[in-house]
Amino acid sequence: MKALDRKLLRDLRHLGGQILTIALVVACGVASFVALRGNYASLELARTTYYERYGFAAAFASLERAPRSLLADIEAIPGVARAEGRIVEGVLVPLEPGVRPISGRVVSVPPHGASLNRVDLRQGRLLEPGRNDEILLLEGFALARGIEPGHRLPIVLNGRRREMRVVGLVASPEYVFAVAPGDLAADPTRFAVMWMGEEAVAAAFAMEGAFNDVAVTLQPGASERAVLHELDLRLEPYGGLGAYPRARQPSNYMVSGELTQLRSMSSVVPAIFLAVAALLLNLVLSRLVLLQRGEIAALKALGYHSGEIGLHFAKLVVLIALAGAGLGAAAGAWLGAAMTELYQHYFKFPNLEFRFDLSSAIGSLLVTLLASGIGTFAAVRGVLRLAPAEAMQAPPPARYTRSWLDRLELGRLVGTAPQMVLRELRRRPLRTLLSSVAIASSVGLTVVGGFYYDATEELVRTQFFDVMREDVTVTLTGPRPERAVRELGHLPGVLRAEGRRELPVRFRAGHRFRDGVVIGYPEDAELRALRDKNGRAVSIPPGGLVLTDKLAELLGLEVGDRLTLELREGSRAHEEVTLSGLVDESFGLQGHMHLTALSQLVRQEPLVSSVLLQVDPAHSRELHRRLTDLPAVAAVGSRDELLQRFREQSAGMILVFTLIITFFAVTITFGVVYNNARVALSQRSRDLASLRVLGFTRAEVSAMLLGEMGVQVLLAIPLGLFFGRGLVWALGTTMDPETYRLPLLVTVRSYAFATLVTLIASLLSALVVRRKLDSLDLIAVLKTRE
């Protein structure tokens, strides 16, 4: 080995702690990139291939009922490649007697098999034509419930109970993320999707020769917008509920939302780390180069070219970057695989697996090298440009001048040590600033970690405690006369029953529109509280319409503006209404009216489609048993259970996320504080040793050195809290606002947590340096010549 390379290895060992901390920062950056980017690519690939393979449709529409002959009309729409009509209906699965049934959905399969949205057979076999008691069951549900091919399952089809035989377990591109309509959280145990022969479904729902759901694919280059418009026109006479593109298909919509977030995270988070790594490398390298000024000069005098010396330092940086990147790639592969495993719980792509994307690993290595190069270049260039004879002399004593700060004679007040600290900071304002910014970025990251917890807690508080005051929600099989409310109100244990009408509509303002529901409430409704964004109660004016504020924003509406409601039930008329108020809601996009006004709008007698119940807990079991037996009941939801599921789902994710982000943040803080202190130590060990010889105590000397870091940290904390708030806001813009909206809120608790984490990390690194300082060999330091 060349002597110069040997020097490299010795330098590396000598810089051990510093190199380790920098490599760790690099590793965090590369790991987050490999994990996030890898998951993005894996999810995207799984989605594309899965959709392709199983013929996921390009557009969908539900309707009341249309004859199959209409399908030819639909296929004749310019741009439509293929249309397939299906019967899709809600069903109930009374799995255990006496326990309320699980809500489900049945999808019809043509005798020769579907051509669009084909199922992916995972276990067992497909349906055999003519066997009307066979079903295919969604694998996610079956696994969660321990159901296997061959099992029999009771199904309530259109109010009639039948025993069906499960012949196969399937996955489907339509139910990658399976969430029951109106449910707030995905729960594989609570949503049973099944596929059944067309004949059997048609017979059960009296839909022979008809369909109520259509999926189409497009010809290449077709205008999606135009096709959707035509589709709406064709379906209008048949009770069409509004056609929607693949992008709005509920399952795909959730997948897309996740992909968007992954993509933005995979650029922001690694960028922060690599920037910090570049800063640290610059810090350490420039100090090293300064310390080795004499050695560099000697090398030049001995005949080494500037290029060779530059390469020598470049190797040092490349080794650090390589070590960090290698560690990061390994950690990223592990982390990425763990993330994918988490995703597999949510997104049932059977082909989803974490792919360690070599090109993204290499890409991040290149970016790391580039960042390190930038960090190093400036440091090395200066010395390389020195004439060897000039570099021969030790750097002249640093220049200090008296400043206005000194003129205040603070020294007399605060003593000499703080004054030395102040002068040192003032002499290197850029380094102080950059170090503070780097620490601030870690504070900011920790704030983001806290935000997820805060936001979820706030969401739970408002949604489950302020908004939902009912204990049980009963969804009826369809709109029913108000009498149903009174009947439910007489069930045992029911303290209060309120009927509501959920009316599907298309909200339209000019060319913008959204599909959703308008909810009608009785005048004296108490069980659902509407609030504005300041938390004040909003009451619906008689005859008026109140919208989710986000919906109004999406439609470009303000209070007092006119909008059109295209009703999907009853009269199916297009009615102009005035927007009379806004409410702040965490979930969904909807409108609110009084039931009477809504009924007038649809020109129907007052009907209800769901009933909210307040229940005496003592009678809860009894009530659920009774509800099970009512044929008009489609689904029963309990607030407590919903809350519990929501908590379970989010708690695990949030804990993992917070832990990772805190670890990342600690790495940065530790890296910055430790490296700064070590550099300062090597820079000033002579001064400090001299002071010790003069009789200063270890504590006093440490205070002079670490005081500098203390100031940096103290500057960084407020900056970081501010930065964290900004990151949270930026993160908010990447989250899809249409399904649910996390309140962009950071509590004092999170700020305190971030501050605490930073202080502890700083203290730890200060302690490590303090130990170094305590073991300072006075004689050795004073004897060596820089």
């Binding site: 060349k2 002597a3 020097k7 001995l302 500037s306």
Partner: protein, 242 residues
């Protein structure tokens, strides 16, 4: 008009009218004010002069560490006056060995490795072990600079300078940081190398007695050569006292 006479056959280094001006803000410091000199093959030269007289400046320029403000100089028949950094580096790498007052060893490398630093890049070097043997440090091969005394460190520096078999050995106060006894030891090594390898050697010193080692003594004052003499009798390093 000056007619440039080609250097005589045994001259190895020749300078004409070298000046060096340092600009310190408004003030011009004239470190050299027109120096003409010639170093001959295998010659042992001692440079004397008061502090600030320009000795280091001259040696740095002749060694290719620094560039003159004006004047010309040649190594053999190659003119290096206007040479770029690359050429100067090649010049130092192939032909010049330096010994500094403060040794300038790489602290993270052992004695052997410090010498290897040079043998790694030289064309026809001796082995690091042989070079260290030459300066009497055979048994201390694997010691780090911090484990060696000042005199030993300086001998490692000399081994490092001569390992490439340079034509020119330039020493700036090689005994400046050493006590008398160690100083003599170092001078002995330099003399031995001059004799055995025929290396042209220039030594800057403040110790007039050292001049007795020289074939030629050059005295500088205020940036000019003010004296040049050839001692009648060349002394042995061991006989020196100061």
């Amino acid at each position: 008009m000056t007619v440039v006479t080609p250097p005589p056959d045994d001259s190895i280094l020749r300078a004409e009218g070298l000046t060096k001006v340092y600009l310190m803000g408004e003030v011009e410091v004239h470190a050299l004010r027109g120096v003409d000199c010639t170093f001959h093959r295998s010659e042992m030269i001692v440079l004397l002069g008061a502090s600030g007289s320009g000795k280091s400046t001259l040696l740095n320029i002749l060694g290719g560490l620094d560039v003159a403000t004006s004047g010309r100089f040649w190594f053999r028949d190659q003119e290096l006056t206007a040479a770029d950094q690359k050429t100067l580096t090649r010049y130092r790498r192939r032909h010049v060995g330096f010994v500094f007052q403060f040794y300038n060893l790489i602290p993270s490398l052992t004695a052997r490795e410090n010498v290897a630093l040079v043998t790694d890049i030289a064309d026809d070097p001796m082995s690091p072990e042989a070079a260290l043997e030459l300066v009497g440090l055979g048994p201390r091969l694997d010691h780090f600079p911090a484990q060696l005394s000042g005199g030993e460190q300086q001998r490692v520096a000399i081994a490092r300078a001569v390992a490439k078999r340079p034509e020119l050995l330039l020493c700036d106060e090689p005994t400046g940081a050493l006590d008398y006894r160690t100083g003599v030891l170092v001078l002995e090594v330099l003399q031995k190398i001059n004799r055995e390898l025929g290396t042209t050697t220039a030594i800057i010193t403040h110790n007039a007695p050292i001049a007795r080692l020289a074939d030629r003594v050059i005295t500088l004052a205020d940036g000019r050569i003010v004296g040049e003499e050839r001692p009648t009798e060349k002394a042995d390093a061991r006989e020196l006292t100061w």
